[in-house]
């Protein structure tokens, strides 16, 4: 078993699934000859040819719109949007079509589409290259939204996403693309959609996070060794793994949610609303949010101030534990 980083794990998943299922096609800007601007699709063109690994023109709505047409007629497209900041252009096709085809046609048609999007900050990038934009997709009924935090999960979740008969938005934390390696088995395994993962057991405070924030929270926990933290990596943002959240919060009575997306109507809000609805009587302190501010992600000179970091998270854990 090889130690792979996340880019390699996703690449492996694509290689294996394309080998196995001839209906899988990969498409997007620079995904073919170039192998993707992050090299995620490297080697696919050579192996599977230009009918299945498609360099598209520069048009995000066109990519998703044509992928929808492919999906309803028997292919399983895995479309790449080069950076999350250009995904706004796809919202219309996703909200008015991809997410509704099964519903509107009452099952006559469905849309097995995966849209991969590198997302998030902390990589000293240009404007629009550091955003976290999950809310736009979580809020659209009919989409699923997935976001791995490790190479192992990335492969397993991507395979589940491709095999899912409905459209899945697959966010890839570019900050973790090459951040570390771990054992990633070759061959088939999946991580199910809709199931989060408890990373540490704890009794004092539940910390909920996903994607690139998982590592930040792991570092934060190191700073508050005296507090027993139950750390949850959601892995799927829609549909939410409510049981995992509620079981934990009912036990700890305290919770911190961490995300890099702006605070207002970031997923933290929904998690708090659900805790309020389902675990109200267990709650001993207000749920705290450590998030991006309600501003556009600043350019790199100020980006570190914008992002949640281990110290911000640690402080929130301390305050919540001490409430």
């Amino acid at each position: 078993m090889a130690k792979l980083n996340m880019v390699q794990a996703i690449n492996l998943a694509l290689h294996e699934e394309m080998e196995k299922d001839p209906s899988v096609v990969v498409m997007g800007e620079d995904v073919g000859v170039d192998g993707g601007v992050f090299r995620v699709t490297e080697g696919l063109l050579n192996k599977f040819g230009s009918d299945r690994v498609i360099d598209t023109p520069l048009a995000e709505s066109g990519i998703v719109g044509t992928a929808i047409g492919m999906a309803v007629s028997g292919l399983k497209p895995v479309a790449e949007i080069q950076f999350e900041g250009f995904s706004y252009m796809t919202i219309d096709q996703l909200a008015t079509h991809a997410s509704r085809i099964r519903y509107r046609s009452r099952g006559t048609y469905h849309c097995p589409l995966v849209v991969r999007m590198p997302y998030g900050g902390g990589v000293r990038a240009l404007e629009h290259h550091s955003e976290a934009v999950a809310t736009f997709y979580i809020h659209i009924p009919g989409l699923k939204v997935v976001i791995p935090s490790t190479p192992y999960d990335a492969k397993g979740l991507l395979l589940s996403s491709i095999r899912d008969p409905d459209p899945v938005i697959f966010f890839e934390p570019k900050r973790l693309y090459r951040a570390f390696r771990e054992e990633v088995p070759e061959g088939d395994y999946t991580v199910p959609l809709g199931e989060g993962k408890k990373l540490t057991e704890g009794n004092d405070v539940t910390v909920i996070c996903w994607g690139a924030m998982v590592k930040v929270c792991q570092e934060a926990i190191e700073k508050v060794r005296d507090i027993s933290v139950e750390l949850i990596d959601l892995r799927t943002l829609s549909p939410l793994d409510e049981n995992l959240i509620m079981d934990s919060v009912r036990k700890t009575g305290r919770c911190v949610v961490v995300h890099e997306e702006p605070r207002t109507l970031g997923l933290g809000a929904e998690i708090i609303a659900r805790i309020n609805e389902k675990a109200f009587l267990s709650l001993e302190a207000p749920v705290k949010r450590v998030t991006g501010y309600d501003i556009p992600v600043p350019l790199p000179k100020l980006e570190d101030y914008y992002l949640p970091d281990p110290e911000k998270v640690a402080q929130a854990i301390r305050e919540t534990a001490g409430f």
Partner: protein, 351 residues
């Protein structure tokens, strides 16, 4: 760079023999019947709407030439991607009128019964275009010898999705036929204000493929152009944009008042070019049509329409379908919301 113009039948039903497609009488009768049926379907829909028995409805009055002409050029195995005014194409493609009515009466359940290769109606203008290109592209990738017809209005040519879809079609030489029903208006906006290009057909030049303008009130011209484009598509020649030059004789929809933005005289001019009238004259000249032929036909078609309406109005939608078709498998959250609604309904019934 240039754009051709095609007309086979003139407004008086005279045929240009050199261009006349080789269709037997039975087929011509089917053309005519479907046009008449479409008009009766359409007229009934307007009446139902006025009585509050239907949603807002966009009449296809005047479009029968482009719709039936193009639809009959398609093979059953070719894909059809409609926008929202394609009742005639839907009927020609064999979608039972009952379901078309159920849809416009306000239930998605209608679409449970779409025959294969007929996609659902796209309400947001132009968004269906990339789908059609994708479906054609998929057929090409999978080496299926089929083509895809996608319908759009003159207004749709202004949308980004038109552009992106057309460009993909050009680059990947997808077997797509773009059938633009240029009915001179997008709601109130006249064609000249929609775009400064002289024709819509020439927009294809921007994508490196052929555009052609046809008389959209001439079912034979539309048939021939579509047939040729489909053949080209299936033999690897790539996409074609067909601009059907026609006119919306009715209001945009039942919510629209066209007297706000166009003169009656203009409408009257176009009435003279009615696609059904000219086809009737053509059939008459061929010795197929006479008044009793018409009377029988209208009687038959009317009965068919009435029956469809009756069945449609008898249909009662299923509340659970709102929740059950969002995903292949209902999620726990949606199950909870469905239960919430059902217990609410139960409580309300109790008192």
């Amino acid at each position: 760079m240039s754009v051709d113009w095609l007309q086979v039948l003139d407004a008086e039903g005279n045929v240009d023999k050199s261009l006349e497609p080789a269709l037997d009488n039975k087929t011509l009768e089917k053309f005519y019947r479907t046009m008449v049926l479409t008009r009766l379907f359409d007229d009934k829909a307007l009446k139902l709407q006025r009585q509050g028995r239907m949603l807002t409805f966009g009449s296809c009055l005047g479009h029968e030439g482009c719709q039936i002409g193009s639809a009959f050029a398609l093979e059953p195995d070719d894909w059809f991607f409609p926008y929202f005014r394609e009742h005639g194409v839907q009927i020609a493609r064999g979608i039972p009128m009952k379901f078309i009515y159920i849809y416009w009466m306000g239930s998605e359940d209608a679409n449970m019964n779409l025959p294969p290769k007929n996609f659902t109606v796209a309400i947001p203008v132009a968004t269906q275009i990339p789908h059609a290109v994708g479906a054609a592209w998929a057929a090409k990738i999978r080496k299926q010898n089929i083509a895809v017809a996608v319908y759009l209005g003159d207004g749709a040519t202004s949308e980004g999705d038109f552009h992106e879809g057309m460009n993909f079609a050009g680059v990947f030489k997808t077997p797509t036929v773009f059938i633009c029903e240029n009915n001179q208006y997008a709601i109130s906006l006249p064609r000249e204000k929609q775009t400064a290009s002289q024709t819509l057909a020439q927009k294809a030049l921007a994508y490196g493929f052929e555009g052609i303008q046809v008389d959209g009130n001439d079912a034979l011209a539309v048939y021939s152009a579509t047939k040729a484009a489909l053949q080209k598509a299936k033999s690897g020649g790539g996409p074609t944009l067909i601009e059907c030059f026609t006119y919306r004789l009715g209001a945009h929809t039942t919510s629209d008042d066209p007297t706000k933005y166009r003169q009656n005289a203009e409408v009257e001019e176009w009435r003279k070019k009615d696609p059904i009238k000219r086809f009737r004259l053509y059939l008459e000249k061929k010795g197929i049509w006479n008044q009793s032929y018409e009377d029988n036909l209208v009687k038959d078609c009317t009965a068919e329409v009435e029956k469809a309406v009756e069945e449609a109005e008898a249909y009662a939608p299923v509340v659970e379908n709102m929740f059950k078709y969002v995903y292949a498998e209902i999620t726990p959250g949606l199950k909870e919301q469905m239960d919430e609604l059902q217990s609410f309904i139960a409580k309300r019934k109790e008192g």
